[in-house]
């Protein structure tokens, strides 16, 4: 049977055109079903090639034997022993704690923003407002993180503002003490001492992580809020539930899967991203990402693979816990 290809607008759908192109093979219901089957195999193949296989190779290579410049096939747990019996495990755990703190702060700051946008901004403008949070991502992460240095530094913007407040406060107190109470002397003579804890410290790393990853919580929170139907809020209002009670007893539990998804994004980025501790961290600050980088620099590839495998296991464990607690398959499912 001859096939005639047309480019007319009434060629109804992509599927029909594909079927028309290959009538001998896919023209029947059976053929259509086969096409669908293959179409689904493409993403599966992609996932296997670019996700499952590299992850499997990471685990396999982590038990290979290290040579001077590379590694050779074998089975040894030396890399894991090297990780767990060294200070690297301490750095790994510390970076987990810092990332967890960044998650909590991002939730406290980001989720109310998501709720506000969902509840208070007109529906037609909500997505535009949310997209504004994408703007920082248009700038290189390196620039974004590096630009925090002149803000948080010893002579940076934050300290400049604090110094102004200090000077004004000092003048006011000294004026009150000397003038009003007639003591004739100044009470505060100390010079302003810049706050140094906000840069080149773990606090600096957490600030960097929150400012870099906050949009993840806003996006995830907003998507989770979209799944909550309007009548839920109306019902709360009708029943006289206050704002705080509605937030903590209704909104947070219903949006929990979305919040968890945002939290995982932030946690994983905080754990694995090498840039922030490198630029904002204190002496020798490292997280899991920098541990991997350091291992590669030292040409210890099995160790780098082992740390990556441990990160992978951590993520899988987190997702498992999240799934058991919140049923992650229902993240975007409308709540009825």
């Amino acid at each position: 049977m001859a096939v005639k290809l047309t480019h007319t607008r009434d060629a109804s759908s992509w599927r029909e055109r594909v079927l028309a192109f290959s009538p001998g093979r896919f023209g029947s219901e059976q053929g259509e079903s086969r096409l669908q089957k293959w179409a689904f195999l493409i993403p599966a193949l992609f996932m296997i090639l670019f996700f499952a296989l590299p992850m499997a190779l990471t685990v396999v290579w982590s038990v290979f034997e290290r040579t001077r410049f590379w590694m050779q096939p074998g089975f040894t747990l030396l890399a894991y022993e090297n990780f767990f019996n060294s200070a690297r495990i301490d750095s790994f755990l510390h970076s987990m704690i810092h990332s967890a703190i960044a998650v909590v702060i991002s939730f406290v700051m980001g989720f109310p923003i998501a709720v506000f946008v969902r509840r208070r901004i007109p529906t037609t403008a909500q997505h535009q407002v949310i997209l504004l949070f994408l703007l920082p991502f248009m700038i290189s992460e390196l620039i974004r993180v590096f630009s925090l240095r002149p803000v948080l530094g010893r002579y940076g913007l934050v300290n400049a503002v604090l110094e102004r407040f200090y000077m004004v406060g000092k003048a006011l107190i000294n004026w009150s003490y000397g003038g009003i109470w007639g003591q004739g002397e100044v009470l505060i003579t100390a010079k302003f001492e810049p706050v140094s804890i906000i840069l080149y410290t773990n606090v600096g790393v957490i600030i960097g992580e929150v400012l870099s990853f906050l949009p993840f919580m806003v996006f995830a929170g907003f998507l989770a809020m979209e799944a909550i139907q309007e009548y839920v809020f109306e019902l709360c209002d009708d029943l006289g539930s206050g704002t705080l009670r509605t937030f903590f007893d209704i909104v947070v539990p219903l949006a929990a899967p979305g919040i968890f998804a945002g939290a995982v994004f932030i946690f994983v980025n905080g754990l694995g991203g090498a840039l922030i501790p490198d630029i904002l961290g204190g002496p020798g600050a490292v997280n899991a990402g920098l541990l991997v980088l350091g291992s590669i620099t030292a040409l210890d590839f099995p160790l780098a693979m082992a740390i990556s495998a441990i990160m992978l296991a951590t993520l899988v464990l987190l997702l498992y816990i999240g799934h058991r607690l919140f049923d992650l398959t229902k993240i975007l499912e409308p709540i009825r």
Binding site: T67, M71, A87, S91, S295
Partner: protein, 388 residues
């Protein structure tokens, strides 16, 4: 099984599909390019923004690929990657790397008789000289030096009001929280070891090649300092190091000399001192790859190497980057070319050279060794310092 065999097994057996796909698009080795394919950083060129001035001096064409400062990246590319196919010549990333590459048969020994300017090379590079080992592997020359320096302490004179002449100031509690170290265990542990050894605080035989117990002693000293809050941060990369001075975050740091030079140009009064205990001394060399020789690029390489040992290059690398020339006759060359080097420039460069020579002459200096024998001890103790 060596690294090359493993690489083949890895990519031909385990990932046959990927290897096959890569093979389809691989660079045909038989077609030697006319230009010397040179893997080198920007500091390997002078006279122009690109390699054109170097090409004119050498009388060859150069196809440059920018190279990072990471030794591991270069080692991987040359030993287990496609570096042999891609590059005819390359620079190293510090002392000891040429040994590593030569031991893996990725670079070839050189015939110095084909380099006329070899006669100009600084005496300590010649056979039996104190730096002869930095160019040689098993007695054969594998690299031609093009820059060198002695890493020292940079300091903000306006903040300090004096010129420190000892590493002791870096660890002095009066500067607590206002000093920084380089985030690289090589120079940081070596310079600290030099300080501890020369000040009699620790017995260390060779600061460039410490035993595990010596590494432990040096790192425990730094861990103690870190816990007391002595260090503001460990800087990583040129921009990070520079910003510590331009933002006045620190008053002194162990760092690279170009950072001090650029910080001064940006209006901060940063000096680069000479430490009485000594410094980590390093050089960078240019090497000919085995693939480059096979492709017949040997002559082009020797022409380029000859430029690197010419006073023309030495005077310009000193002027442009502040790196020490690797040959004799630079002052005479500058005096003979007043159009390129006026009296004021000659005076400035002469003072710079004098300071460099003073640093290089310190008895306690130790040559850089990017792959010390007890490398594992270095990395493990560095991890402890990071976690402390």
């Amino acid at each position: 099984m060596n690294e090359r065999q493993f690489t083949r097994r890895l990519f031909l057996h385990s990932m046959a599909g990927v290897a096959a796909a890569a093979a389809v698009g691989r660079i045909p080795e038989a077609h030697a390019a006319e230009a010397l394919r040179f893997w080198a950083p920007g500091i390997a060129k002078v006279g122009a923004k690109d390699f054109s001035a170097m090409e004119a001096q050498a009388g060859i064409s150069i196809a440059n690929t920018a190279k990072s400062a990471r030794a591991d990246e270069a080692i991987q590319k040359m030993v287990v990657g496609d570096g042999q196919k891609l590059f005819d010549a390359l620079t190293d990333n510090g002392g000891g790397m040429e040994d590593a590459l030569a031991s893996q048969n990725t670079i070839v020994p050189l015939d110095t008789s084909k380099i006329p300017n070899w006669a100009n090379i600084l005496p300590f590079y010649r056979d039996g000289g104190s730096a002869a080992h930095t160019l040689r592997y098993q007695g054969k020359v594998y690299g031609i030096p093009y820059i060198s320096n002695a890493d020292s302490l940079a300091y903000n004179y306006d903040e300090l009001g004096f010129h420190p002449d000892s590493w002791a100031y870096l660890f002095d509690s009066q500067f607590k929280g206002r000093v920084a170290l380089q985030n690289d265990f090589g120079p940081t542990l070596t310079n600290t070891a030099i300080y501890l050894k020369q000040s009699g605080k620790q017995e260390i035989a060779d600061p460039s090649n410490m035993t595990p117990s010596e590494v432990k002693g040096v790192c425990q000293f730094l861990i103690d300092m870190k816990k007391k809050g002595q260090f503001r941060t460990f800087w990583n990369g040129f921009s990070n190091g520079l910003s510590l001075f331009t933002s006045r975050e620190v008053v002194m740091a162990s760092c690279w000399e170009p950072i001090a030079i650029v910080a001064t140009k940006k209006g901060v009064n940063v000096h680069y001192g000479t430490m009485k205990e000594g410094h980590q001394v390093w050089n960078n060399v240019v090497m000919l790859t085995k693939g480059g020789k096979r492709r017949g690029m040997e002559d082009a390489y020797y022409k380029l190497a000859n430029v690197y040992l010419s006073p023309w290059f030495g005077a310009r690398t000193l002027q442009t980057f502040g790196f020490a020339p690797q040959m004799e006759g630079v002052a005479d060359y500058m005096a003979a070319n007043p159009n390129d080097f006026d009296a004021a420039t000659r005076q400035r460069l002469s003072e710079l050279m004098t300071r460099k020579q003073a640093r290089l002459a310190v008895k306690g200096n130790a040559w850089q060794n990017v792959y010390p024998k007890e490398y594992r001890a270095y990395t493990d103790w560095w991890a402890r310092l990071q976690a402390a």
